[in-house]
Symmetry: C2
Subunit: 207 residues, 2 copies
């Protein structure tokens, strides 16, 4: 979860990066990096201005507005930039695929992510446009879980009458709550995805 | 979920209430009411000051500090004031008791609650003292769910090897995510508690 001092500083990160990348992509990264820094340092979303991001990134406000219509679109790209790559389900069995998909929820190489995610919740709940953007952001993960569940129903690994949409919530909900919001300190962090998948597969009623 | 115009206004609420309540309890309510109003109107927790609450409630700052050491303790009492009464498990069967306990999660007669809860998440995640307070606040609900699960294991309604703590998360996590954070718009709100309980009891694997 550690990140290097260099990558925390937008300007230094640009200087340190190999020169093979287009200048505009590097500026985008510096801007996103600056916004993430500010949020992780405790600047609230309300207080975060395009001006403060520009100043931290060492660019003009116009450079930001050329790329993003406003603060919320920039924020969504910040979240997108921190998303871990989704593992490709191997397709051998449903249990393993679900564990690998749930395994990455809330984990991030970038230590800022655990500070940034809770900051965004109030904004996402307040602002319907932002909610649409946020749904677009989480939908790909949900879609992968859904696909694995549908395959499981088809192969008979899962019950034929499974409520696919509810099951995506029942798998990812507990992991999000626990990893991102630290809901119940009595629950061990290690192996959470596996335990959630196994508990849902087995059911709580005796067999 | 509607609340009356009177109870939204701290001052008016005091005037309208029957005179049988002690004056200090009425002042407490007006203060809590004022803080909830400000949060529900979109004032961020950072921006919320004891001064602004005092001014809205029509009391002096000293009146607030006599009752609460600081803003965070006041905020926790705000959350406490909005908690719905926990239903008393009837003890007839585990399924019904779980449905009734999950049924009240995120539901509130006070329409401000759905705005206030997401606002508090970043603060709770940032501030360890507030996390302790928050855990104290949600623990009683968890304890009730735990007690019902333990009874279910004892009666044989639930499997003998059930992980009680994980199961509390798997029951409440999806309901909190869905009701309080509107996680997946494709999932119907009605009957959610019942569907979550039944899905967890039955398990996703075929029997």
């Amino acid at each position: 979860m550690a990140i290097s001092a260099e990558s925390k500083d937008g300007g230094a990160a640009i200087a340190a990066r190999p020169s093979g990348r287009p200048r505009s992509a590097r500026a985008d990264e510096a801007i996103i990096d600056a916004a993430l820094d500010l949020l992780a340092e405790g600047v609230g979303v309300d207080a975060l201005s395009i001006e403060s991001v520009a100043s931290r990134a060492g660019v003009g406000k116009a450079t930001i507005y050329r790329r993003w219509p406003g603060k919320y679109e920039l924020l969504m790209d910040c979240v997108r930039s921190m998303k871990m790559a989704q593992p490709e389900p191997r397709g051998e069995n449903v249990r393993d695929d679900l564990i690998s998909l749930l395994g990455v929820i809330g984990l991030n190489d970038d230590s800022r992510s655990e500070k940034v995610f809770p900051c965004l919740i109030p904004e996402v709940m307040k602002n319907p446009d932002l909610r649409v953007l946020y749904q677009q952001l989480i939908e790909p993960r949900r879609a992968r879980i859904r696909t694995v569940l549908q395959r499981g129903v088809a192969t008979g690994e899962l019950r034929a009458d499974l409520d696919i949409e509810l099951t995506t919530l029942m798998l990812s909900g507990p992991v999000v709550m626990q990893r991102m919001l630290d809901w119940n300190p009595a629950i061990q962090r290690d192996g959470l995805a596996e335990r959630v998948v196994d508990a849902l597969l087995a059911g709580a009623a005796p067999r």
